[in-house]
């Protein structure tokens, strides 16, 4: 793959391969915490937001970063494009950019660790790694949590555990997720059964950008729904087991496609490649669908295209990444045109 010229805000894992690649692209553990005695960010005034930001960043700097190279970004000092690019890379959540006052993010030295301050909760600790490494991301996030906790007093209730702004996070405050590429399950229509089974197992299924986002490019983010009444270890091992099952289903579906109707598979992926090669402008969602088809063709060795990481290419053609590449102020049409060019360049076509 040609070296992507797309700018990066800190998501080093995008181009890397981990266990379960190319079906499991990345995994994440996120811990939500709040500081005792201060209103949650949603109802906090400017002064309280400044106070909580100062306390959390101080704790991160003293206990987590120590002498290592953590970078702190204050939301109000970033451009709209920089904020949106961080969301496209999953360094911050999509809603982080909604309100900038009093918010910040501390980003670890190219290790997938970050601490978001004053988004929905005072503290949102995040660890992301390529592939399925659930225990590792949990340990990394848990370590940051324990370190911050030596400096601050968290809101904790003996009965319901760590208190969060939205009760959907109360208890452990732990949400663990995986980003999966499941084109064969979608094409064969089997994904319906998978989603239904996941729903019954207490697993959310969402699109590339989590809550409220549509599914595009056959990229699915799955995460635990319940955060209360389960231990962190249970949540982690359950997700690990569930991801293995989903990945098995995708592998089976790919084998079936190859065995039962190889012409259909070949036709689909070549059509995808054909559009990528010839298009002169392309929207984001269409591009994700095309990248997914081409990637399926590469994985099944049907297409003579060199290996690429779908997450890296997908994020690289995100509207804000392209806008940054074009100089910040480009209109939608210009972005769509650039996307078609950028896509061919990153895929070496």
């Amino acid at each position: 793959m040609a070296k992507s010229k797309a700018p990066r805000t800190g998501a080093y894992w995008l181009g890397q391969q981990g266990p379960g690649y190319p079906l499991v692209l990345s995994c994440r553990a996120r811990i939500a915490r709040n500081l005792e005695g201060l209103p949650f960010p949603i109802s906090a005034g400017e002064e309280d937001l400044e106070r909580s930001r100062g306390m959390v960043l101080e704790a991160v700097s003293r206990r987590v970063a120590e002498d290592r190279d953590w970078e702190v970004r204050f939301a109000e000092e970033l451009s709209r494009n920089e904020l949106e690019m961080m969301a496209e890379e999953h360094v911050t959540s999509a809603s982080f950019a909604d309100r900038v006052g009093g918010r910040a993010v501390a980003i670890g030295p190219a290790d997938g660790r970050s601490v978001m301050v004053n988004e929905e909760d005072h503290v949102r600790i995040q660890a992301i790694l390529p592939g399925a490494q659930f225990m590792k991301v949990w340990k990394a996030a848990d370590d940051i949590d324990s370190r911050i906790e030596t400096e601050v007093q968290y809101c904790f209730d003996q009965k319901v555990g760590y208190l969060t702004s939205c009760p959907s996070n109360v208890g452990t405050g732990l949400r663990v997720s995986a980003m999966l590429h499941l084109p064969a399950l979608v094409i064969t229509g089997e994904i319906g059964k998978t989603i239904s089974a996941l729903g019954q197992a207490g697993i959310y299924v969402r699109g590339l950008y989590g809550e409220g986002s549509g599914v595009a490019g056959n990229l699915f983010q799955i995460s635990n729904r319940q955060t209360l009444g389960r231990t962190e270890e249970f949540i982690i091992s359950n997700m690990d087991m569930i991801v293995r099952q989903v990945v098995d289903n995708e592998r089976t579906a790919r084998k079936m496609m190859l065995r039962e109707d190889p012409l259909d598979l070949t036709d689909r992926v070549y059509r995808g490649l054909g559009v990528v090669e010839r298009c002169r402008r392309v929207g984001y969602y269409e591009a994700l669908e095309l990248i997914s088809l081409v990637k399926l063709g590469v994985d099944t060795e049907v297409l003579p295209v060199s290996e690429f990481n779908i997450l890296e290419v997908g994020v690289g053609v995100g509207p804000y990444h392209l806008r940054e590449l074009l100089g910040g102020e480009a209109g939608e049409e210009e972005v769509d045109r650039e996307r078609s060019v950028h896509l061919r360049r990153t895929l070496d076509l």
Binding site: F156, Q158, V160, K193
Partner: protein, 191 residues
């Protein structure tokens, strides 16, 4: 296995599924319940649909639970919910009604202020009401004991289910011991 026909075979359909006139540029995979379908739309239709469906999709999960609660036949339950809406947190001023609308609590005090009403929401959403995970390093001794107690009780249930009665008796003793310590802690707290 049957390969879904949409978009395969014959000429590739390039037109919008909705208006069938404009060229489709927006490609979506829709999940509704167990059904997954692909739709392709032109920009105009996509924008129009986004306005109607986004709002519906983005509604927080919590109000759904609460409206489910309200549809329950027992009248007193409806009354409970209605009176609960009026409760306001003394610390931050968030009302239960605000919480129902936004899905967010204003501060730690809301958990206590909304008490039972919130417990119902928690149970519906989390299918549990008690934390058994990590506790803060600085947490009180009783938090540790409570966690240990829940663990032991679960252990006991498992052993009874597996008819391991001797082991169960030993766990029962441990439970009594922890309960004793908890009482001591409670008394110490009162002093």
């Amino acid at each position: 296995m049957r390969i879904a026909a949409a978009g395969s075979g014959g000429a590739m359909n390039i037109f919008c599924d909705e208006c069938k006139k404009n060229i489709a540029t927006v490609f979506l995979t829709k999940i509704s319940g167990n059904e997954v379908s692909k739709v392709q739309l032109c920009e105009d239709c996509a924008n129009r649909m986004e306005e109607t469906t986004e709002a519906a999709n983005l509604l927080a999960f919590l109000p759904q639970i609460l409206s489910g609660l309200q549809s329950a036949e027992q009248e007193h339950l409806v009354e409970d919910v209605l009176s609960a809406e009026l409760i306001t947190c003394g610390l931050c001023g968030t009302s239960f009604n605000d919480f129902q609308k936004m899905g967010f609590l204003g501060c730690e005090g809301c958990y206590e202020a909304f008490g039972e009403s919130l417990e119902g929401v928690l149970f519906d959403f989390q299918e549990a009401t008690e934390h058994i995970g990590k506790i803060p390093g600085k947490a009180s001794e009783s938090a540790r004991l409570r966690k240990r107690l829940v663990e032991l009780e679960r252990h006991l249930e498992r052993q009874i289910a597996e008819e391991e009665y001797e082991a169960a008796a030993a766990v029962r003793d441990q439970i009594k011991e922890v309960e004793g310590k908890l009482e001591l802690e409670a008394e110490r707290g009162k002093e």
